[in-house]
Point group: C2
Chain length 226, copies 2
DNA sequence: TTATAGTATATTGGATCCAATTTAGTATAG
DNA sequence: CTATACTAAATTGGATCCAATATACTATAA
């Protein structure tokens, strides 16, 4: 019957199958960095965790594979995908290209509600003391800025790209300097949006993402040398 | 043991599972337009076609769903995804943005082999009389131009975007004017690449995709009015 | 002691079976 | 004749079972 309930603005479709639930949970665990890269995901252990058979687990894993979040080897299993610095750098470069465009489209169309929403997340991000929440608030802030772009496909792609590097972004945010810089960047971007200064919002978004990527690469190289 | 055989430049990994084979076949059928949009795909009929059970079919369908090529409704089945003109227009706009960049990166790095390959496909495209082959040659030509970009992630995204609109592009190519225009565009782009004129190659690629998108939208609107 | 062969266990891929739900079809009431 | 309620068939989602393969372990030989 596809009944739905709308709760706190979150739309929970009751048509979700077990496989969907498992997909969401695994995706969440991966992008949050709760599973180490290279770690193999055992079908049986996931199945036990959710008290189901391996069938829906396997379907969830196929979807994660299609999204590039895990890689699979026949008769061996799937492992959490790991990315080389150059792969990460490429994704950040791509994000600069696409998210800049999305902001450009969004700024002129941005509703007062979206601006307020973004402002709220920006403040919450700046005030949040629990590092575990920074990643969420960071994404919520950017999503709020993008939502009025009128470009659902771009947003889908942006989400997918962000999923792949999310774990590294979070590691970067945990560095206090990374966090401080992100906070300043966010405030500047938000101000440009309030002023409907598309050009400025685009440039600030581009450099925000670019700089985050550069810092992240430096961080990863430092860590690999140690 | 992951043995592989390399045949005519195509790398056939023998590690492919049944589910992979089915995924490839269905994806191919969908993007070639061999299945009507909105058509529901019955698990059992696909399973019979490949003489297997529904299990690998379901896994293949999950992957297609993650790629956006089909949409699924619980207990009803999956249907071949259909796109509205505005969704198609968005993808073409996106392709202009991303593929232009890819060409820019590729032109300077393009090897003589890639140039010859592109030339070969360009000529084959121009001379091919069987419309069913135009779509393949069109994609092979563009892929040849992109392959030296050094941006595997961009290429992944470009492929995914093209998959979604491929069926419509083919319909457009079938219009003789569409084909004639594509041929001229290809030759001009190729010439710019041979001359290492990145700026020109970028501009030509952008307008090539842009114009194809515009023509396609007009075509679809005409057809819907009739 | 170490390397190798062989066996046992663990794990994945696929087939078959059952449950939940939808869809098609039929009968009945108005 | 049409609309509705009921039943049967078709279809999907999930569980359990079996086959194929990989990994871990053990024993044996040098």
């Amino acid at each position: 019957m596809a009944s739905e309930l709308n709760l706190k603005g979150v739309n929970l479709s009751l048509t979700a199958s077990t496989s969907d639930v498992i997909y969401d949970a695994l995706r969440d665990a991966i992008i949050r960095g709760e599973m180490a890269e290279g770690e193999t995901i055992r079908q049986e252990s996931v199945a036990k965790l959710f008290s189901v058979s391996r069938i829906p687990v396997r379907e969830a894993l196929k979807r994660l594979e299609a999204q590039g979040l895990v890689t699979s080897v026949r008769y061996k299993g799937v492992v959490v995908a790991s990315m080389s610095p150059s792969e990460i750098a490429e994704i950040f470069e791509f994000r600069v290209l696409v998210e800049s465009k999305v902001v450009e489209y969004a700024v002129e169309a941005m509703t007062p509600e979206s601006l307020e929403l973004a402002k709220g997340y920006c403040e919450a991000f700046a005030e949040e003391t629990n590092p575990a929440r920074w990643g969420d608030l960071n994404r919520l802030f950017h999503s709020a800025l993008y939502r009025d772009s009128g470009r659902p496909y771009y947003l889908e792609i942006v989400q997918s790209a962000n999923d792949r590097v999310e774990r590294y972004v979070r590691a970067q945010l945990d560095l206090t300097e990374g966090m401080a810089r992100a906070r300043r960047d966010h405030e500047a971007i938000l101000e440009a949006c309030f002023k409907r200064d598309a050009r400025k919002a685009v440039n600030l978004t581009a450099s925000h993402i670019h700089n985050a990527g550069q810092a992240l690469i430096r961080f990863l190289q430092k860590r690999s040398e140690a």
